[in-house]
C-alpha cells in the first residue's frame, strides 16, 4: 500500500489508497435445522488519484502488479470526471471501542449450539417455521493519502437474526441484535417473539381506510429511506430533494428527533473516520421536528460549498463491493430519539389500527418525492389496545413528509434495524388499502 501511494504521488497531484479486509463466518438454520455454514476471507484495495482537478479511480483484489492498478487509475483520468476537492489530513481520530479480541476465539460450533438452543425453544412454544442466522465479522479498514493521512481501524462483531415464519405465508416476526463478541440471546427477546407470534396467528381482514399505524423498527426503513434521500447532499446537488430549501423549518412533528451517531460505541460498528478519512462526528438531521442539516461527503461538500460532515462511505443500496464503489454520502448510524411510551402504552394509545411489523416494496415508488406504498409483511391488527390477529393482503401508502407530521407517540427503547437503531413510532391518519 505504501509503495502504491508513493508511486501514485509521483504522477499526480493527490492520491488516496483505501484498503478493506473483511472476514466473515455465518451459520444458517432453516426449518429449525442447521442448513449451511459459509465463510469468506477477502482483501482489496482501491485507489483514487486527482490530477488537474480530474479524478482517476481503480481497484483490485490482489496487488500483484502495482503498475496495473495505477495505470487503470491513470486511464480513467482521461474521462475527465471532475474532482475539485482535497483529500483531508487526518492525524487524530476518536478513540472508540470497535473490537473485542475475544471474538477471535468464538467457534462456529458455539454459534451452532446457541442457535440450536433458541430453535428448540421456538419449536416447543410455536408452530412457526423457524429461520435463524448468526455471524461473526472482523474487518480491517485503512485509509492513506498523499496529505499524510494514515489511519486504520479494526472492527468486529457477533450478531444474530431470528425469524418466526407464519406457515405458508413466509411473512415473519423477526428480531436482530449485534454485540462486540458472543452473547447468549436475551431470554426476553425470545419470549417477546413467541408471544407476538402466538397472539397474531389468526388472520384478520380489516376494511380499507385511514387509521393509526405503528411503524416497528423492522418496517422503519420505509420512512428512513425517503429521509435519507431527501437529506443527502447528492439529492440537494441534483435538485431532487423536496426539502432542499427547508433548513430551519419544522417539517415533522416536534416529537421527532433524528440524528446520525457514528461515535456511539455502545454498539459494534462505530466509526471514528469515514471511508475517505474524514473524522466522524454526531450529526443532527431533525431536532424536535425541525430540519437541521444535510449530510455531505468530500465531493458533494465541495460542489455545494460546504464542509464534509464525515459521511463519505463506499456503500450502495444494493450491496456491491466497498473497493469497487466510490465514496458517496450515506448515513450509516442513524438513530431516532426514543420517546416516553412503553410498547404496551403505544398499543393503548392506538386503540384501533395496524402494527407494521415488516414492509414489502419499500425500495419502489417515488422515493425522492417521499412517497411510499408498501405491502404489509405482516401487519398486526389492534382493537381495544390489543393485538387480535394478523393482516396479510394490505397496502400502506402515503408521503413521509405528511406521515411524520402526524406522530402520536414514540417508544422508549431503541432496537437495531436496517441502517440504524429505532424505536417504534405511532402515526395517525395513514391510508390502508385492503380487498374489503
Amino acid at each position: 500500500m505504501e509503495k502504491l501511494l508513493e508511486m501514485a504521488k509521483k504522477v499526480c497531484d493527490q492520491a488516496e489508497v483505501y484498503s478493506y479486509e473483511p472476514s466473515t463466518s455465518s451459520v444458517d438454520f432453516e426449518n429449525a435445522k442447521l442448513y449451511d455454514i459459509e465463510s469468506s476471507i477477502h482483501a482489496g484495495v482501491s485507489l483514487r488519484i486527482i490530477k488537474n482537478g480530474k479524478l482517476g479511480f481503480a481497484y483490485t483484489r490482489n496487488i500483484l502488479n502495482r503498475n496495473e492498478i495505477l495505470q487503470n487509475a491513470l486511464d480513467s483520468l482521461k474521462g475527465k470526471v471532475e474532482a475539485k476537492y482535497d483529500f483531508p489530513l487526518t492525524t487524530e481520530i476518536s478513540n472508540l471501542k470497535t473490537y473485542d479480541s475475544s471474538i477471535e476465539d468464538l467457534t462456529i460450533s458455539r454459534m451452532v449450539e446457541e442457535l440450536s438452543r433458541i430453535s428448540e425453544q421456538f419449536q416447543a412454544k410455536t408452530d412457526a417455521e423457524i429461520s435463524l442466522y448468526s455471524y461473526k465479522n472482523i474487518e480491517k479498514i485503512r485509509v492513506m493519502n498523499s496529505k499524510g493521512t494514515d489511519i486504520n481501524s479494526k472492527n468486529g462483531g457477533f450478531g444474530f437474526y431470528l425469524a418466526l415464519i407464519f406457515p405458508g405465508g413466509a411473512s415473519s416476526i423477526s428480531r436482530s441484535q449485534s454485540y462486540f463478541t458472543f452473547k447468549k440471546t436475551p431470554q426476553n427477546l425470545v419470549n417477546e417473539m413467541i408471544e407476538f407470534y402466538n397472539r397474531s396467528k389468526k388472520v384478520i381482514e380489516p376494511k380499507s381506510g385511514k387509521m393509526k399505524v405503528l411503524w416497528m423498527p423492522g418496517s422503519m426503513h420505509t420512512l428512513t429511506w425517503r429521509i435519507l434521500s431527501g437529506t443527502s447532499a447528492k439529492s440537494i446537488y441534483e435538485k431532487i430533494s423536496p426539502i432542499a430549501e427547508k433548513i430551519g423549518e419544522k417539517i415533522f412533528n416536534e416529537k421527532l428527533t433524528i440524528h446520525d451517531a457514528p461515535l456511539d460505541d455502545k454498539y459494534p460498528w462505530a466509526r471514528a473516520f469515514d471511508d475517505e478519512g474524514v473524522n466522524c462526528n454526531p450529526l443532527s438531521i431533525i431536532e424536535n421536528g425541525v430540519l437541521k442539516s444535510f449530510y455531505y461527503d468530500l465531493n458533494f461538500a465541495q460542489k455545494l460549498d460546504k464542509k464534509s460532515t464525515g459521511h463519505g462511505y463506499r456503500t450502495s443500496r444494493w450491496g456491491g463491493e466497498a473497493i469497487a464503489l466510490k465514496p458517496n454520502p450515506n448515513l450509516t448510524h442513524l438513530q431516532i430519539k426514543p420517546g416516553n411510551a412503553s410498547f404496551s402504552e403505544l398499543l393503548k394509545f392506538m386503540d384501533k389500527g395496524m402494527i407494521i411489523e415488516g414492509a414489502m416494496g419499500a425500495h419502489s415508488g417515488n422515493i425522492p418525492n417521499g412517497d411510499y406504498s408498501v405491502g404489509v409483511s405482516p401487519g398486526f391488527y389492534v382493537e381495544n389496545g390489543e393485538i387480535i390477529g394478523r393482516v396479510k393482503d394490505a397496502m400502506i401508502a402515503g408521503n413521509v413528509y405528511d406521515t411524520l407530521k402526524n406522530v402520536v407517540a414514540i417508544e422508549d427503547t431503541l432496537h437495531p434495524s436496517w441502517s440504524g437503531r429505532f424505536p417504534a413510532i405511532l402515526c395517525d391518519d395513514v391510508s390502508v388499502a385492503t380487498k374489503k
Binding site: E38, K78, S116, G361, S364, N366
Partner: protein
C-alpha cells in the same frame, strides 16, 4: 489455471469438492445529470471452494491464493460440523463429468470496444432527456461485466466459460413545482455490445413519458381488474411465482413445499410458465451453472398445473427430481445458489386489443419499478399506467403499487396475450445480485388487483 486449481483440490480429503476461480472485469461509466461522475475499467479475482464431507456441505470464498490452506481447513471443519448436527446427510445428485471450454458468440465483443467509444455513446443517450425543460436530473450509465470462470470438481469436471453482460440505462427525473417524477430506461444483453446501440428512440420515448407523468393523476387506492404489460407480467412470473419454483427456497418452508407439490393445480387454465436459459441471444443465457451442470429448459407450469422446479445438485437429490442446472453465483465472492435463468409466461393467442375489449373498465399498468415477495404475498411498483374505460385507454395514472396473493392471482389471470417480450437487463437480489436474471410475458389480464394509492 486448471492445473493450479487441481493442485488446491488435491489437498482436500473429502467426499466431494469443487473450486471456482474467476476473474471479473468491469467497465463502468456513469453520468449524474450533465456530469460524468465515474469512468474506468477494473479487474478483480478470487476463489470459491465447496466441500462435502461426512454428510455436510460447506463453502468458503477467498481472494488471496496464500489463504487457500486456511480457507480449506475451515470449510472442512464446517462441513463435518454440519454433518454431525443434521439427521439426514446432504448428498448431491449425480451429474455427467464435463470437460469443455465454452465462449459465447458475440455480436461486437465489449472488450474490443474502446472506453472512449462507450463514453460517447452514453453521453449521446444522456443528452436526449437533458435537452428538455423540466428534466431536472438523470442517472444514466453503462456497465459491462465479464466473468471469466474456471471450474474444477473432484469428480473430474473441468469447465471454462465466459459470461459477458452489457447494459446501458438508468433513471430520468422530471420536476414541476414540488412534484418529482422518475422513470427507468434500459437496454442490454448477453451477446455483445450491439445490444446497447441504437437506443435513441428508447431514451426519447422514456423522456416523453416522464414529462407526461407530471400531468398524470395519482391512482386511487382500491381493487381493480388490470392489464399488466409484458414487463410487469414478467415480474409477476419471476417474483411472485418464480422464487417458489426455486427448490432451495421451499425446501425449508414445509407449508409452502406442500402447496407447491408437482401436479398441483395452482393457476388458471391459460397459464403456462417455463424457465429456458438455453434460449440463445437472451439475457439469461448460459451453458453450465456454477456446479458444472448444463442448464436445461424446465417447464414449471402447464395449463395451471405445477410440473417442474429449478434445482441445485443438493436439492435435486433432496426432492428426488431431475437436475436442471440452475445453481449460479453472482461472482467469486459467493457460493452458488438456485437462480432463475430466463423465466416467462408463454404466449397465447389474444391480441392486446382483445384484452382491452375483454377488460372494458379497469387499469392498464406498465413497466416494473421494483418488486418484492414474502411467501404468498407480493408487492410490485409500476412506472405508469392508464385508466381503461369501455375498452379504451383514457387518462394517464402514476404512483402505482400493487399487492396480491400468489395463489389467488394465478387463478385470477384470466387472459394471456400473444405478444411475449423478454427483459434485456436484470438485477434479482436474493442475497446476491443476478444481473443476468431474465424474465418476460405477453400482456395479461388479471382480476381483483389491490392498488395501494398514495
Amino acid at each position: 489455471m486448471f492445473e493450479k486449481l487441481k493442485k488446491i483440490l488435491q489437498k482436500v480429503e473429502a467426499d466431494y469438492s469443487d473450486i471456482r476461480y474467476e476473474q471479473k472485469k468491469d467497465c463502468i461509466i456513469t453520468f449524474n445529470g450533465k456530469e460524468l461522475t465515474r469512468i474506468g475499467s477494473n479487474s478483480t479475482d478470487g476463489f470459491v471452494v465447496r466441500i462435502l464431507k461426512d454428510g455436510g456441505l460447506s463453502s468458503v470464498a477467498f481472494t488471496k491464493e496464500t489463504d487457500a490452506d486456511t480457507a480449506i481447513k475451515s470449510a472442512l471443519e464446517n462441513a463435518v460440523l454440519i454433518g454431525k448436527n443434521i439427521k439426514k446427510p446432504i448428498q448431491l445428485a449425480k451429474v455427467p463429468v464435463v470437460k469443455e471450454t465454452f465462449f459465447p458468440q458475440m455480436n461486437e465483443d465489449p472488450r474490443k470496444i474502446s472506453i472512449s467509444e462507450k463514453l460517447e455513446l452514453v453521453r449521446k443517450y444522456n443528452d436526449i432527456p437533458l435537452k428538455k425543460e423540466k428534466i431536472v436530473n438523470t442517472n444514466i450509465g453503462y456497465v459491462d461485466t465479464i466473468r471469466e470462470k474456471y471450474f474444477v470438481t473432484s469428480e473430474g469436471s473441468e469447465i471454462r466459460e465466459d459470461l459477458i453482460t452489457t447494459r446501458v440505462g438508468g433513471m430520468i427525473t422530471s420536476k414541476e413545482g414540488n412534484l418529482l417524477q422518475n422513470i427507468r430506461v434500459s437496454s442490454g444483453g448477453s451477446d455483445g455490445f450491439y445490444n446497447v446501440r441504437n437506443q435513441e428512440d428508447n431514451f426519447a420515448n422514456k423522456t416523453k413519458l416522464v414529462l407526461e407523468l407530471l400531468k398524470a393523476k395519482p391512482v386511487k387506492a382500491g381493487v381493480f381488474n388490470c392489464i399488466l404489460n409484458p414487463s410487469l407480467a414478467g415480474v409477476f412470473a419471476h417474483e411472485a411465482f418464480g422464487h417458489f419454483s426455486e427448490a432451495d427456497i421451499i425446501e425449508t418452508l414445509p407449508a409452502m413445499r406442500q402447496k407447491m407439490e408437482i401436479g398441483s393445480k395452482l393457476g388458471s387454465d391459460v397459464l403456462n410458465i417455463i424457465d429456458d436459459a438455453t434460449l440463445p441471444n437472451q439475457l439469461g443465457f448460459y451453458k453450465y451453472d456454477d456446479e458444472g451442470v448444463a442448464v436445461r429448459s424446465t417447464q414449471l407450469m402447464k395449463n395451471g398445473i405445477l410440473c417442474g422446479r429449478l434445482h441445485s445438485r443438493r436439492t435435486a437429490f433432496e426432492f428426488n427430481e431431475p437436475i436442471s442446472g440452475h445453481c449460479v453465483a453472482e461472482d467469486y465472492r459467493f457460493a452458488p445458489i438456485i437462480r432463475m435463468g430466463t423465466i416467462y409466461i408463454e404466449a397465447s393467442t389474444p391480441t392486446f386489443e382483445e384484452l382491452l375489449e375483454s377488460l372494458q373498465d379497469g387499469l392498464y399498468i406498465v413497466d416494473a419499478k421494483g418488486g418484492q415477495t414474502a411467501g404468498e404475498n407480493f408487492t410490485f411498483g409500476a412506472q405508469y399506467g392508464y385508466v381503461v374505460k369501455d375498452g379504451k385507454l383514457a387518462g394517464m395514472i402514476r404512483d402505482i403499487n400493487i399487492s396480491g396473493n400468489l395463489y389467488q392471482t394465478m387463478k385470477d389471470i384470466i387472459m394471456v396475450g400473444n405478444d411475449l417480450v423478454l427483459t434485456k437487463t436484470g438485477g434479482c437480489g436474493k442475497g446476491q445480485t443476478n444481473i443476468r436474471s431474465c424474465h418476460g410475458a405477453p400482456h395479461i389480464l388479471v382480476n381483483n388487483v389491490v392498488m395501494g394509492g398514495v
